[in-house]
Amino acid sequence: MVDFFINWAANVPAFAVPFALAALGLIVTEKSGVLSLGAEGYLLMGALAAAGASVVIGDHSLVAFAVGALAAAALSLVFALMAVTLRANQVVAGLVMVFLAQGLTGLIGTQQGWTNRPIAGLDRIPLGPLADIPVLGPILFRQDMLVYLTLPIFFAVAYLLSHTMVGLRLRAVGDAPEAADAAGTSVTIYRYGAIIAGAAIVGLAGAYLSVGVAKMWVEGMSGGRGWIAVALVIFARWQPWRALAGAVLFGGIEALIPRVAAVGLQVPQYFMLMAPYIVTLAVMVYANLNKSTERRFDEPRGLGQPYLREERR
């Protein structure tokens, strides 16, 4: 039983990191008041670009991650153009990004023959003596590079959002664009920046799916994780640390799925595979229970509304 627990817990971080980073990227974007439903698309793009980079230039994981993040950021320019400059409906613009990425990654990946090509990927790095601590060692200190990097990334983004002028202006643009505009902050520039930076973080999560976990690329490999991340952000009330906690919860459930059958529990396979989505729905219901007035203010107040100075509101 202890072995089972350690084995499960040691695998949770690898499953939690994609959720955590995807949710973090979404929080950055949505804090600026732009509703971002395209996370699934950025995950697909990051996964394809990182896997492709690994196939083309060989196994330089860091380069692959950078390529994944950059590719997602480049794709997000299309979304930024639609949502910010052209003031399109942000629901439509976000959905379109998912389908654009599905089509684009399917076309590029198949044409280049990147499907199922094995990638060396990330190794687990034991952290010296810490890795030999019983129980905690294998769970916390025998992980790969990106798991270790996730915490610093969270610290950096949380600090940026809540303790710097850039973060203050970003939140102002998201909460009251007309006030931020009157105070001399460019809504357009901050929203573009938030969309691109957020997409890069989501792209990193996508790169981790292909290069870090699966160690290969297949079409549509994100399997709805981007949508779970969208739900996670609502559950986390746009707060990075709550999103991290939620990501660990989902990582824990996902890590449990392949292990349930091993213990001898007779749950039909496909019902187990439904679990993450059903839990997400349950979490969404929970997030909306006892919705007090105080909690409602967690949502950026300008979320989903295009800003145009000349428009009467």
Binding site: L86, G103, T110, Q111, G184, Y277, V285
Partner: protein, 379 residues
Amino acid sequence: MTDIDHNIPAALPAVNNSELRAKRQGFGRFNLEVRQHASAWYQVVALAGGVGAGLFIAALILVASGVGFSDLANEFIFSIFSTPRSLSDVLTQAAPLLIVGLAAAVAFRVRFWNIGIEGQMILGSIAATGVAIGNIGPAPLRVATMFIAAALGGMLWMLIPALLRIRHGVNEIISTLLLNYVAFNLLLHLLYGSWKDPKSGFPNSEQYEAVERLATVGWESLTYALPLALILTAVIWWLLNVSRYGYFTRVVQANPRMAAAMGLPVIAVTMGAALLSGALAGVAGFAISAGVEYRMTQGFFVGYGFSGILIAFLARNNPLGAVLVALCVATLFIASQSLQVFYQIPGSVVQLVQAVVVICVAASEFFIRYRIRRIHRGS
């Protein structure tokens, strides 16, 4: 008063105000104005320009991935409309597309974002196949029973997100989408389990018997799925544009809060449209299983969710416009099948083309809603 006016220049640094304002505008020295009115002709031209630009970019992408330009024209225009056989393929394909387009349009009319059309199609087909496998009801009425079962299946699947939104405020975009994955796993559970084809052992349901299929109309392989879709179009058009309910949906779409203040039953109107949308999506699943494939397969629903959204978006939620758009999308589907066979272009290119068209149309709507004005210095 004159005293104060006189003092201001001393207190403030001398800045050319209009220049500063112009510099801070998002578009440099350009200004965006909301159009009060755009003529119908202007709207049509802008929309057509958007669609045209989208198709042009999509064609460029296909040419870049190895399809010759003349081959592309050949695949899309000549070979599809040259033989009755391929024309009937397009019309057969158009039937389920038209129905999912109606499903999306009905939901969007009350601002309910139904992204779960594929899940509702799966449940519709599961319900219809259940009737077929269980031989439920008298044989002459079997297809009708399957039709009703499919509508109920899609409707019940939609009941979950509809209730979650009304009771618990859960965003329907996420709930309908997540339920797609649940429905897909349910489909796999059945197809790899008790509903596996006993004859071949493949993971699809056994073939429907003759009484469980939509009959052919007597021209090529076209079935009654298309007349069914057209009848549904007429009914939905009447419902949305003529009936009192349609008027209610228009008020709810324009402004839900005002509709509530006026005493309209906003929740009932929204629920009704959402459930109708689910039922239509279920019927689309039935139309594919009983009218095209004659069994329930693993991937019969793939791509229809987005196509439905696209059809409703391009047709501006108008059922009659949806007929035209559905035909175009059906052409795209059929052309992509031959691209897949002859040029090894993956099927996901259908999604790519549709996404590019939506992006360009969204861009064209910008020019319908706004006017770009140049700001003159000192004005």
